[in-house]
Subunit: 121 residues, 2 copies
DNA sequence: TTCACTGCAAAACGTTTGCAAACAG
DNA sequence: CTGTTTGCAAACGTTTTGCAGTGAA
């Protein structure tokens, strides 16, 4: 609706990476200098609630935001620091099966070496 | 070594729950009133590094600490708020198999209803 | 006697929020 | 015109840290 929101959204859609709120803020601020951090967070929340983006919560460091909204997991590369998609397949069902517990949702934070860094090495 | 450290350790060992740093602090402070929060965090880190306790990192809210050190996963009960153990089995191998990626470690934060609450319902 | 550990308080970090002003519909 | 959204700055919850003093070995 507002220019701020559109700018923030465009930054996310326009980046192949999984950006943190601050990275989004800095990039959007270049295009819209008066932009405030609070506005970024408020809009990220709105977009998340609207199902337009995915919020990747991390236990250490800043959360990330993903333009791909279909449920999938992520891995943080311990070499380059990027968050990459993890092509997992029905882990929720698997965990439910293994544990027999009433699990509603789950979130994985994996760490490893991304394919790009593997190729470099 | 120090009394503070022993007190903190005893609190963790003596509780069936997965306590947060603040809960540990409050309980240990009852037995050792001059205890400071910084000391709790510093000792938790030492114990974690020594492999004496497990550090459960959470993306929302305070981290928890677990006296069971063997690798396992956890679930947060959305009803009572407790963190309970999740008897998963070789998820790391499974995720590696599914994704073919160089995964070094992972951490799951699941949410659901714990057995105790299931029985109450 | 030495060096690790403590208590304290301040700072760090990422995120949220109250408010009055600005703006979109 | 009305109600949502903004910018600002202050506050939040959790964790870390600098420092001078304390205490365990």
């Amino acid at each position: 609706m507002t220019n701020q929101r559109k700018t923030i959204y465009d930054v996310i859609i326009g980046s192949p990476e999984h950006l943190s709120a601050e990275e989004i803020y800095l990039r959007a601020k270049k295009r819209y200098p008066s932009l405030a951090m609070g506005t970024v967070y408020r809009n990220l929340k709105l977009m998340e609630d609207a199902g337009e983006i995915l919020h990747i919560r991390t236990p250490d460091g800043a959360d990330r935001y993903d333009k791909t909204t279909s449920k999938h997991d992520h891995m943080e590369c311990i070499q380059c620091g990027q968050f990459v998609d993890l092509p997992t397949h029905d882990l929720l069902g698997l965990i439910r099966e293994q544990t027999g517990m009433e699990i509603q949702s789950y979130q994985i934070n994996a760490k490893g070496i991304c394919s790009e860094c593997m190729n470099k090495n």
